[in-house]
């Protein structure tokens, strides 16, 4: 399945875009996605931390990704 990942803040600069697409297997998890992203964008590993969100909720490493989920990469937040 093809998934799209929204990027914000420093992640948008690392991706060079506010959205990227990846091809993944149908039973892929958040940790599979992190691994793939870090292969393609090694600068992610230099961040203090980052999370992934699925459908506007912070996701856990074991969560499964489904086609058409809204996925976003959440670098360290700094609002306020």
């Amino acid at each position: 399945m093809k998934i799209n990942i929204l990027a914000f803040g420093v992640a948008k600069e690392i991706f060079g875009s506010s959205e990227v697409s990846l091809e993944m297997t149908n039973d892929a998890t958040i940790s599979n996605l992190k691994y793939l992203l870090e292969q393609q964008y090694p600068r992610l590993k230099q961040l203090s931390s980052y999370m992934l969100a699925v459908n506007n909720e912070y996701a856990l490493p074991g969560d499964t990704i489904h086609e058409r989920d809204e996925i976003a990469i959440i670098p360290p937040v700094s609002g306020g």
Partner: protein, 139 residues
């Protein structure tokens, strides 16, 4: 309605926040106003640029508000947050809480700003004379 949450690219109107939170049932209101500081670690800050993942930011702010209502006897809660470019002295965030008694208002307001800074997907980029930095991005 006992909650007002807003993300806005326009200047925040502090007086309208206070007008909305005031009520005859309240014994007090607590208002936190964040402001853009002119320096970070001794370096002159030119401006800040705020970006939000808007639907998730609204959802996370709603969660914080729901938890604050559960934890403290407060009456109304308001969170207004800016997006876009802000100059030194401008206001990125206003939080207002009303309660019958001040302890609840102070405690809830403190909890809301502290948690917002940890969980709400909003990012700021600081501009210095020698370049830009996404705050907290790198160790």
């Amino acid at each position: 309605m006992n909650t007002q949450i807003l993300l806005s690219a326009q200047t925040l109107d502090i007086q309208s926040c206070i007008d909305w939170i005031m009520s005859h049932e309240s014994g007090g209101i607590d208002v936190f106003i964040g402001t853009v500081r002119n320096s970070t670690k001794g370096k002159k800050v030119l401006r800040l640029d705020f970006e939000a993942y808007e639907p998730m930011a609204i959802s996370e702010m709603n969660k914080i508000v729901a938890w604050a209502f559960e934890r403290w006897p407060v009456q109304k809660i308001l969170i207004h947050h800016r997006t876009g470019l802000l100059q030194v002295g401008e206001v990125p965030v206003v939080i207002a809480v009303s309660a019958a008694h001040r302890d609840a208002a102070f405690d809830a307001c403190r909890y809301i700003i502290d948690t917002l800074k940890q969980t709400v997907p909003i990012w700021k980029k600081e501009s210095f004379e020698d370049g830009d930095v996404w705050v907290a991005a790198h160790p």
